[in-house]
């Protein structure tokens, strides 16, 4: 079997461990600078909140060349009294190895699922390796609802700057909520808790040679859990601060990865989401508090400029996706003055639904289709930034709520045109 859980050296370690209660996975790739802090936070969290549970930390690495695996192996908390913790009563294990399969976060997670299944774990969590704001409490918040409240899947709730996470806020959250009827605020948060049963269920799905293995794992885990009726909750983790992103990362590539994964799942779960009307909140854990956030610099003029370039150059592509009526409305926006630029939420909702339908009908290659959404997305983002410029965080959140309600009330448009 082509799986890290069944490689000889890993197999020997698993046999030595036998069985555990908790598995914590950290997927990584060249994260030597940051992963040490994450490992310490995980170890402290497991010691502080789960001293009576056997636990294993798994670093599923994508072949780092900067010594990430060595950092994981060598990092430990020598003096627990310094952080006011008791020593564990149950053993804590650590495994670090390169995963097999297609390079990507999904393959790294698959290794975690397989080890969780092999060790018959009760609860699991996965956290990013570049987190700077992770604390031991994150472990408690992601794992306790599974061990003690019988939940199967825990998504994170973060405090983020009102201008951050715009792909989540304007596409993934409203769409996932309208489709599957659960108000999961961070469906692609990246840090999740899940039960051992759900890990085994994930392994039954034949997706490990697809884009799920590369980049679509976050939305796939969330959607699979919701659409298959697993018990879902979310935990407030505070601020999410992580290492500076790769400056070469292209927005349209990011958009393609996230949106194509979301649209792809719509095909597979069409029967389920067509039955869903409206949405309901999911239970939340954790104590919500305000977090001081770094100011975010934005350049709305550049965004609106790209939106206008889209109008001038992508007319034929947009016409085939949006139809003449909505395209006329989009073109009308292009003529507005920068300060008066506003993208109506009803139009944005139809744009996303039209793109989902075009993706479903394979109107053009998926990458071209979704990358042609970039200027429209930047127009919507610029509009939101201009609108929310002087708003408090809760007021900006209220605007996102309005957008979600629009997605829900217009869902019949999607269903009617989905053939």
């Amino acid at each position: 079997m082509n799986s890290p859980a069944f490689r000889k050296d890993v197999q020997e370690q698993l046999e030595a461990i036998g069985q555990v209660d908790i598995v914590v996975g950290i997927p990584s790739y060249n994260s030597a600078r940051t992963i040490g802090h994450v490992v310490r936070a995980v170890q402290a969290g497991l010691t502080k909140y789960f001293p009576g549970y056997t636990a294993v930390l798994i670093n599923s690495d994508g072949g780092s060349s900067d010594g990430t695996v060595d950092v994981v192996q060598n990092t430990t908390i020598e003096d627990f009294s310094a952080i006011l913790l008791q020593h564990r009563t149950e053993p804590f294990y650590k495994m670090a190895f390169p995963y097999s399969g297609i390079p990507g976060k999904g393959s790294a997670f698959r290794a975690v699922f397989e080890i969780a299944a092999a060790l018959n774990a009760k609860a699991c969590a996965v956290v990013d390796s570049d987190l700077r704001s992770i604390t031991p409490e994150w472990l408690e918040l992601l794992i306790t609802p599974i061990l003690k409240n019988d939940f199967d899947y825990i998504t994170p709730l973060y405090h983020r700057h009102k201008f951050d996470g715009t792909i989540t806020n304007s596409i993934v959250y409203p769409l996932t909520r309208a489709l599957y009827g659960k108000r999961v605020r961070q469906p692609i948060g990246g840090d999740f808790g899940f039960s051992g049963e759900l890990a085994k269920f994930y392994l039954t799905k034949d997706v490990w040679q697809t884009d799920v293995a590369r980049f679509g794992i976050d939305i796939w885990m969330t959607t699979t859990a919701i659409a298959n009726g697993f018990k879902i909750a979310q935990s407030f983790l505070g601020a999410k601060i992580h290492d500076a992103k790769d400056p070469g990362a292209d927005l349209s590539d990011m958009l393609y990865q996230v949106v194509s994964s979301t649209f792809g799942l719509m095909d597979g779960y069409a029967e389920q989401w067509m039955q869903v009307q409206a949405s309901e909140p999911v239970p939340s854990f954790g104590f919500e508090y305000s977090v001081g956030l770094e100011p975010v610099k934005v350049n709305t003029a550049r965004m609106i400029n790209i939106f206008r370039e889209g109008i001038d150059n992508l007319h034929d592509i947009w016409l085939s996706i949006l139809g003449a009526g909505d395209l006329r409305e989009v073109e009308r926006l292009g003529a507005l003055d920068d300060r008066a630029f506003r993208f109506p939420i009803a139009l944005w909702t139809r744009v996303i639904y039209d793109y989902a339908i075009a993706f479903h009908q394979r109107k053009m290659p998926a990458e071209h289709l979704i990358k042609s959404l970039t200027p429209l997305y930047l127009g919507k983002t610029a509009s939101f930034i201009l609108e929310a410029e002087h708003m408090e965080a809760h007021e900006a959140e209220a605007e996102i709520e309005k957008l979600c309600l629009e997605f829900e009330s217009s869902k019949s448009y999607l269903i009617t045109n989905w053939k």
Binding site: R160, F163, D164, G165, T166, I167, T168, I188, K245, P247, D250, L251, S252, M254, L255, V258, V296, K297, V298, N299, R302, N305, I306, E309, G310, D312, N313, L314, I317, Q361, R362, K363, M364, P365, E367, H368, K371, S372, T374, P375, T381
Partner: protein
């Protein structure tokens, strides 16, 4: 007198003998043509039914094949076009086979040449079809990428790339069909060389100031972009 009569009759006998030899071949040609035409028609009907069952028209609409036809001023249904192509291709092959039944040297040579040329014609059509799709794909990818980078002349750039690729594909097709390959190669080299030279001159000599301004603007925009925005989209 009898010699004179023989002189007249011999050519007539020759013609009669030749006709006697030729008549069965001619009959065979007619039979092959008739059966072949019937077979081509049957094949057309079968292909039409099969494509209808497979909903080829809707597939063509989705994949852009119908749009391609409309661009070529063809307004019928895609299923009808494909079945008509199948019919005529079969009929041409049947015609060539029928002609070879006449067993006339000149026609035999023509038929042989036709069948030797057939793979070239087929591969040319294939190059043309794949090339058309490929150039459209690349040109659209360039257009979208250029727009997303905020490049003002995106459409112009995409169109230039499409024309360049189409020229390359047409040169490949003509080379494949062996239509004046030397001239095609020379013309293609001259055109490509000319384009590169024209660009070099316009940017290097004629437009030093414009090129400098463009590069400065681009660099300034990149710098501004690097420092002017730190929004996290995910």
């Amino acid at each position: 007198m009898s010699d004179f009569l023989n002189l007249i009759l011999e050519p007539l006998q020759d013609v009669f003998h030749k006709f006697k030899d030729f008549a069965p071949n001619f009959l065979a040609m007619l039979v092959i043509l008739l059966i072949g035409a019937l077979f081509a028609w049957l094949l057309q009907v079968l292909v039409l039914k099969l494509l209808d069952t497979l909903q080829f028209d809707s597939w063509s609409d989705r994949k852009g094949f119908t749009r391609l036809m409309r661009k070529g001023d063809m307004w019928g249904k895609p299923t009808l076009l494909v079945s008509a192509v199948v019919f005529w291709c079969t009929l041409i092959v049947v015609l060539m086979t029928a002609l070879s039944a006449l067993k006339i040297n000149a026609i035999d040579q023509l038929v042989t040449q036709f069948f030797v040329y057939l793979p070239r014609a087929f591969s040319s059509v294939l190059i043309l079809a794949v090339g058309y799709v490929f150039s459209g794909f690349i040109s659209r990818a360039v257009l979208i990428a250029a727009v997303n980078s905020g490049y003002h002349y995106a459409k112009l750039l995409a169109e230039a790339i499409r024309i360049l690729l189409t020229t390359l594909i047409l040169a490949m097709v003509m080379e494949q069909l062996q239509i004046a390959p030397g001239i095609v190669l020379a013309a293609f080299s001259i055109i490509c060389g000319g384009i590169v030279l024209a660009l070099s001159i316009s940017f290097g000599v004629g437009g030093i100031d414009a090129a400098r301004r463009m590069i400065e603007r681009q660099t300034a925009a990149e710098e501004k972009e690097k420092t002017g925005e730190d929004i996290e989209h995910i």
